[in-house]
């Protein structure tokens, strides 16, 4: 008799805040007339709260904090995940935490990103227990006074009273909640609200940065207006990541920076016919330069990020050679970062930023004068339809024996189509665009993996051929690279053979219809 589907209810925790008429502390004293309440614990301390630049922990509804001699991962619902001793650092990568369950959990959430300090939290926390007549604890009450501080100053947060349910004693918990409510205490059901308050002293706000690209565009936008809005948003992404790239905090600052550059270039080329040719040509050339100078470091990062994966592909005997190869990359990266930093702090870069901003925002900019009345929506519809048709035309002809370059061409076309949908998503039904992009993502992942493997293979082969075969060191590296290349070749075959299935899933009639429906002006608004 297997029993399934019965879930255990988790004990709840509800937070209440003081307001002008009722202080939580006073309220607690008043509870003593109907409940037996005992203070069990009082703790004061100072915590430092960390998250990645793009709020990966926040998105996972987790908190990562340092206090005194250790770090802790906990959930928004108050449940601790894990804690271990650790030294205080200005930033933590997952590999800065010693081997433990905590490290594995963190790694799964933040991947390659660094966790950066965002806030200090000073707290004074008293824990009380509510007892029944057997003197058994049937609920807990926590009274918390906190103060946050960050670069923006300090803030004393309103006193907070938290009720913690104990499994199997729901009745008492409900009674306590009712007392709190009728005393006028204000319940806050989510950590989000508390954190939003805490962050009022910080220049950062939860979720103020993320990878999803979305720009609001009224349906009546002209091409110039739409391009300006989209490109300003992309320029903002570059600006936001600029410092992180220059300080080389983690690899993702540069990655996001480069994606913004690539999107900008893509938009300029996709809408080439609709934009002032002279200015477009100038900025295209400048962004091409920017794409070029940021390339070498990213190329190296791609390998360094694969260190673990590569090591796992090879037998231990070949690890030392591979580690030598990575050490070499590490050294090369250092000098490439210096070069990159020089470019990003150069006058040429600064001019590009200033000119670009001016071009996108000055009322008398040529951008707004050129074909001034043309509606962007019509252009977007046409472009998306055209790119989609071209994508499936190519995709339909790919067979198991098509050459690699056909795959690469298809990937580029897919990318352009995806960018278009992302730039102009505001014109269309949000849920439908998401749905289409999700279908597309599977296919793009397959094409992307194939491309990555091709590039890796080529790069490793090139390095192999440069090796001077005489020294012991290069023999070691050579053996490892040779091993890797053959493992990658096997992988590449598998990815290639998965293509047909991914493509069939994507190009099925329902997706084709969806896109036609999305971009068909006359039929908009139909269910």
């Amino acid at each position: 008799m297997p029993i399934t589907g019965r879930e255990m209810k988790r004990p709840q925790e509800i937070h209440f805040l003081s307001d002008e008429t009722m202080q939580t502390g006073e309220f607690l004293a008043s509870l003593a007339s109907s409940f037996v309440i005992e203070e069990t614990d009082r703790r004061t301390g100072r915590k430092r709260y960390y998250d990645t630049f793009d709020w990966r922990l926040f998105r996972a509804e987790c908190l990562f904090t340092f206090e005194e001699q250790g770090v802790e991962l906990s959930r928004f619902n108050g449940l601790p995940v894990a804690a271990i001793p650790a030294g205080r650092r200005e930033q933590y990568f997952w590999w800065d935490i010693r081997e433990s369950e905590l490290r594995e959990k963190i790694k799964a959430i933040i991947e390659m990103r660094a966790m950066l300090p965002l806030l200090w939290l000073d707290y004074d926390r008293k824990t009380f227990r509510v007892l029944n007549k057997d003197r058994k604890t049937v609920a807990r009450i926590v009274l918390c006074n906190e103060q946050t501080s960050a670069e923006g100053g300090q803030l004393v947060l309103p006193e907070r009273l938290s009720l913690r349910e104990i499994r199997g004693y729901g009745t008492v918990f409900a009674k306590l909640c009712k007392s709190c409510r009728s005393a006028g205490l204000r319940p806050v059901d989510t950590m989000h609200e508390l954190l939003a308050q805490a962050f009022s002293v910080s220049t950062r706000k939860p979720l103020d940065y993320g990878a999803k690209f979305r720009v609001e565009l009224p349906d009546s936008s002209t091409v110039g207006e739409a391009v300006a809005k989209i490109c300003l948003a992309l320029a903002e992404t570059m600006a936001i990541n600029h410092a992180g790239v220059c300080q080389d905090i983690d690899s993702e600052f540069l990655h996001d920076f480069r994606i913004a550059v690539r999107r900008t270039r893509s938009l300029l080329s996709l809408l080439k016919k609709e934009l002032p040719p002279e200015q477009s040509a100038f900025f295209q050339a400048e962004f091409k330069w920017l794409g070029g100078v940021t390339g070498p470091v990213r190329d190296i990062d791609v390998y360094l990020l694969k260190r673990e994966e590569y090591l796992a592909m090879l037998p231990a005997a070949l690890h030392s050679g591979l580690n030598l190869f990575f050490d070499e990359l590490d050294r090369r990266r250092k000098s490439e970062v210096k070069r990159l930093r020089r470019c990003l702090l150069s006058q040429r870069y600064q001019n590009l930023v200033d000119d670009w901003r001016h071009y996108l925002s000055a009322p008398d900019s040529a951008l707004f004068a050129f074909r001034r009345k043309k509606r962007c929506r019509a252009v977007a519809d046409k472009q998306i339809k055209k790119r989609f048709a071209s994508f499936v035309r190519d995709g339909d002809t790919i067979t198991g024996t098509s050459p690699d370059r056909e795959m690469h061409k298809l990937r580029i076309k897919g990318k352009k189509l995806r960018y278009l949908l992302e730039f102009f998503r505001a014109f269309y039904d949000e849920a439908e665009v998401e749905r289409f992009l999700k279908h597309m993502k599977k296919l793009q992942d397959n094409l992307g993996a194939f491309n990555d493997l091709s590039v890796q293979q080529q790069m490793l082969a090139a390095r192999l051929s440069q090796l001077d075969g005489r020294t012991k060191r290069s023999m070691q590296i050579g053996a490892s690279l040779g091993g890797l290349i053959s493992v990658l070749a096997g992988k590449k075959r598998r990815v290639r053979s998965a293509f047909q299935r991914s493509y069939a899933g994507f190009s099925k009639a329902s997706n084709r219809d969806l896109l036609i429906w999305l971009t068909a002006d006359s039929r908009r608004g139909m269910p």
Binding site: M1, T4, M8, K136, T137, I166, R167, G168
Partner: protein, 248 residues
Amino acid sequence: MKIIAVYSSKGGVGKTASAVNLAYTAARTGKQVLLCDMDSQGAASFYYRIKPKKKFNRSCLLSGDFYQFIRGTDYDGLDLLPAHFSFRNLDIALKEAQKEKSRKLLADLLLPLKSEYDFIVLDCPPNLTVLSENIILAADSIVTPVVPTTLSLLALEQLLKLLKKLDCRKEKILAFFSMVERRKALHLAVMEKYGKYRIFMKSSIPYTAEIEKMGLHRRPVGSGGNQSPAAHAYDLLWQEIGQRMSEK
């Protein structure tokens, strides 16, 4: 999830004392633990000051509809399923359940708790019935307290026979000497003679006033905050149980 049954066919050997304290020790190391009080006397529930809810009884347990009757103890990570008076006829009810499956019923009942708990500790009543068979089949390990006297050893022999009948590996049994009094020559002699067998773990639990007084304080040893040699002995025992279980 691992299921650990604290079992012996003999009463008064320290099963409940061990189940109560081992469960507490496990929870203190950060594990999620459920202590199931299978003995209708409800001693484990009493130590944790937990009474069953009014609607709880044997049929709730047997139908699998018992999650709502699990209650939190005073300690983080440690829950308890209280015993009920009606558990005294648990084995009759088990026998009446589907004939051929009646031995595996308990294992099936506990399986869905896999995602909730790292360990389930069963405090078992002293008998040799269908319930014992259920317990033995459900458990990953059977922790057996043996008071170092000749009579207690008989209970261990019975257990070995039962395992054979049920076609279980005898390595499932993790025996230890319980209520050990070093002043007693008999205790020392029995331990000397039998302690070297692999079935016995190295750790043992001494006879102490602190454990004896648990009924008075109604809480696990060591939870009062003071240094406790008894709690230390249970810590060591728990560590050894963990080691033995990972060796398999």
